[in-house]
Amino acid sequence: MSSVTQNEPEKLTKKALKADHPTWCPGCGDFTVLACFFKVLEELQIPHENICTIAGIGCSSRFPYFVNSHGLHFIHGRALPLATGVSLSRPDLHVFAFGGDGDGFSIGGNHLEHCARKNPNLTYVIMDNFVYGLTKKQTSPTSPIGFQSKTDPNGAMDMPVNPMKKLVASGASFIARTHSNQVKHMTEMFSRAIKHKGFSVIEVLSECTMFYKGAFDDGNPRKGGTFEIIDEKTGDGSDEDMERHDISSETEAYALADLQYPGKFGVFYKKERASKNDLEQNLIKSGQEKSGDLDAKKLIAARFKAMR
């Protein structure tokens, strides 16, 4: 046994959060996502042992190896149902899921949708690079039409998924969009997402320098693009405020998602509604009350009696 005393909680530092050096390619957008995650955790000072980082499979999904926290690297596309299990049974934890566009919108698309409507307490970050990175350049569900990949050497043809539309329609209760080159904005989004109760999801445009270089230059002012931030309604009653985006309006969020690429960045939608965790806890409460708060042994005994 180590003799280190762990009773007084130590301050959580970036250094303590760093694990393996990422195996990502130099310049990969995912590096800043990681840095930003460290920063936000440091700000929020979540107890170290209560951070839980979960991912599917993909370059982006190697995330848990690079964070020194309890973590799990699962199979392709199923991180969310797994994270749901962790969250529902462990209210003491802060559960984070990370993954790519293939993991989240292709093989995992259905889980994302059902997770969104069920609203468990967890934060999901999709590092969207519009391509399959780990398997070396196939078309992803977010690849734009015309993108030349190994599976579409003449250019992608299928209409891509619109992540924001999908999320809004699925009923996710916190939806934001950011860009891995915009660290400040990304940090703000992460921080707001984590504070949200229920299912919060952030799409981060995160460049794959290896297989889709320059994909997001249009959203990067340093590369000549524009990074237009959503102007949120403040409720100050002013005229300008009327024009601003109401993050509580689903139809406004949907309209915002309909903008031409690169679109706008920021919080598209936020709604407070009962989380799956709350709903199941209520069920437990009323179930236990109704059955007279019996312990397991008494509950089973009563049942057996009825079976006589």
Binding site: S2, A19, A296, A301, R303, M307, R308
Partner: protein, 593 residues
């Protein structure tokens, strides 16, 4: 060939019987399952052995259906090859089921609907205007409902069943409904009880007093027994997706778990269900998921993950007729190989199978024990026949039922979840780590700390380690007991719900001076050691199972045994007609082997 106990004329004039098989044949809306259930429960409360069996029609609602109940004073091990009594509600019930009636048996039919060929002298025909008498008794409003309870009254009289006990059971069943329901039921019951079957059945039958001794017996079906086994073993979390015949387990868990402070979630599909269950397991709980055939196929990838990451998990497979959608409401044991080998790669795991309804309870407890102790997925292979069949058995002792706890004790700096030299041990999230280094759980090959590695020697060592841990379990299992003599001509080997028919076959064969014994495997993978030594003392070992003989002539367990022991004595008797083994089929198999 009658395998069943014979009626013997007794002192009091009524025909005392040890054992009777009653088949109710009608439509699924007729409530024949309710009657069967009442009879089963009565038998349970009367120290009688009981076993039921039913078929479900392929139509969504309605359609022909039977419910068979076997009640005996001795041990009742199978639902019975042939019926002593057939109760036929309709012409087609009569036509389709007369062949299941034993020669000399009684056909009781609803004379409002059935016109039997009474010239058939093999049987005794008794016509009762069930429909019209019931309508008369409870008034026109109830239409054809209540006929089932009328028949129950009739049977109560016929078999001199304990009327008071039965009335109590009926009352407790209907008490939560509108009181008119109970009133009508009692009207129908009394009308049946009072019905005079006349000359033909003038001698009525009565059971000998039962042999079963325990006071506290409970009567329930296999799925319910299994569910309470899970609860008693401390399962508080689970996830599933509906499918017949697994659904009733998840429905009960979803209804019951909140009372225990737990949660069962209905997932969007089976892939999500097992993923959430693995999430529960990773979070430090003993978790359950389950399904039947098609749903199990969908769980194979994630199941392989649980083997690789060595997470404790119980997976229930209520086997049904396969392949594919197959025969969803028939019985089969054809998922054994998949349970062992269904995931890609070498992914050792544990397979258990219950032998009867009572064992569904205990096998669930054993599954949880193994899952926790060896940090491994454990698959329970139960089946469609056990799922809904009702049996009475001694109330389990629950004195050592404990509330499960979550172990979040701080882990020392030398913590290794996958030590090459000892047991797997996880540190669930929330655990403080003495050195501040947190573990990652992964499906990639990994080192003792759980860290991914593609080092060749390590992959070899870890593969060995995952296999050897299951071999350790094998050597901890107690030797199999032999039913019958420990040497002889034929050794029958069974697993799962063939337990009963095999025992009856052994009993019968022994009565006929054949040297037949049997062994039964509850632990299928790994199987206990020492089976070779048992086989040694017999001329033939016949593995009796409800699956196909495959390309090379051997059923699934037979294949495993032959591969392990390379003993050409190991033969097999298989069937895949969606029905359980008849005793006569096993005896025939012994003859032909």
């Amino acid at each position: 060939m009658s395998l069943l106990a014979k009626k013997s004329a007794s002192a009091n004039g009524s025909n005392d019987i040890k054992d009777a098989v009653i088949r109710l044949a009608g439509n699924s809306q007729d409530g024949i399952q309710t009657v069967g259930g009442f009879l089963a429960r009565l038998a349970g409360r009367s120290a009688q052995e009981v076993m039921t069996y039913m078929t479900i029609p392929s139509t969504i609602s309605g359609g022909a259906s039977i419910f068979q109940v076997r009640i005996g004073s001795g041990e009742v091990l199978s639902p019975g090859d042939e019926a002593d009594f057939l109760i036929a509600f309709y012409q087609d019930s009569y036509e389709n089921h007369l062949s299941s009636l034993k020669e000399g048996g009684v056909c009781l039919y609803d004379s409002d609907h059935v016109e039997p060929d009474t010239s058939d002298k093999r049987f005794t025909f008794v016509g009762v205007p069930m429909t019209s008498t019931t309508v008369e008794a409870i008034g026109g409003s109830a239409r054809d409902r209540g006929k089932n309870i009328f028949v129950l009254g009739l049977l109560t009289k016929l078999f001199e069943l304990e009327r008071n006990k039965l009335v109590k059971i009926i009352e407790s069943q209907f008490k939560r409904k509108h009181e008119s329901v109970l009133r009508n039921a009692m009207l129908a019951f009394d009308s049946g009880y009072a019905y005079e079957t006349g000359d033909v059945l003038s001698q009525s039958y009565a059971f000998e007093p039962g042999e079963a001794v325990e006071d506290n017996r409970i009567t329930t079906d296999g799925n319910t027994a299994l569910t309470y086994g899970l609860l008693a073993a401390g399962v508080r979390y689970g996830a599933g997706y509906p499918i017949t015949p697994w659904s009733s387990i998840m429905e009960t868990l979803r209804t019951e778990l909140p009372k225990y402070g737990g949660t069962f979630i209905q997932s969007e599909d089976e892939l999500a269900a097992i993923s959430s269950a693995i999430g529960f397991a990773y979070a430090g709980h003993i978790a359950v998921t389950g399904s039947s055939g098609p749903g199990l196929s969908l769980k194979m990838e994630a199941l392989g993950y649980a083997c690789m990451a060595e997470l404790p998990l119980v997976i229930v497979n209520v086997q049904r007729g396969g392949p594919s959608t197959g025969l969803p409401t028939s019985v089969e044991q054809s998922d054994l190989m998949q349970a062992i080998y269904g995931s890609h790669g070498d992914s050792p795991r544990v397979i258990l199978a219950p032998k009867d309804v009572e064992d569904c309870y205990y096998i669930a407890i054993e599954a949880c024990r193994i899952a926790k102790k060896y940090s491994t997925p454990v698959i329970i292979l139960t089946d469609q026949s056990l799922s809904s069949r009702i049996e009475a058995f001694p109330e389990p002792d629950i004195s050592d039922v404990k509330e499960p706890t979550l172990d979040l004790q701080m882990q020392p700096s030398e913590f290794r979840p996958y030590p090459l030299d000892s047991q797997t041990k996880h540190a669930p999230p929330g655990t403080k780590m003495a050195e501040g280094k947190y573990p990652v759980v992964t499906g990639l090959e990994h080192d003792e700390w759980g860290h991914p590695s593609s080092n060749p020697e390590l992959h070899q060592e870890m593969t060995n380690r995952r296999r050897d841990k299951i071999k350790q379990l094998a050597s901890s299992l107690s030797k199999l007991e032999i039913y019958g003599e420990s040497e002889g001509d034929v050794l029958l080997i069974g697993w799962g719900s063939t337990w009963g028919p095999i025992r009856e076959a052994v009993d019968y064969a022994k009565r006929n001076n054949q040297k037949v014994s049997s062994i039964h495997l509850r632990h299928i993978h790994p199987m206990p050691n020492g089976i070779d030594e048992i086989i040694e003392n017999f001329n033939k070992a016949i593995v009796v199972e409800m699956n196909d003989e495959g390309l090379y002539g051997y059923g699934q367990l037979a294949t495993l045994l032959r591969a392990r022991y390379s003993n050409p004595k190991i033969l097999c008797l298989t069937k895949t007609n969606g029905l359980g083994f008849k005793i006569s089929e096993i005896l025939e198999g012994i003859k032909n082997a």
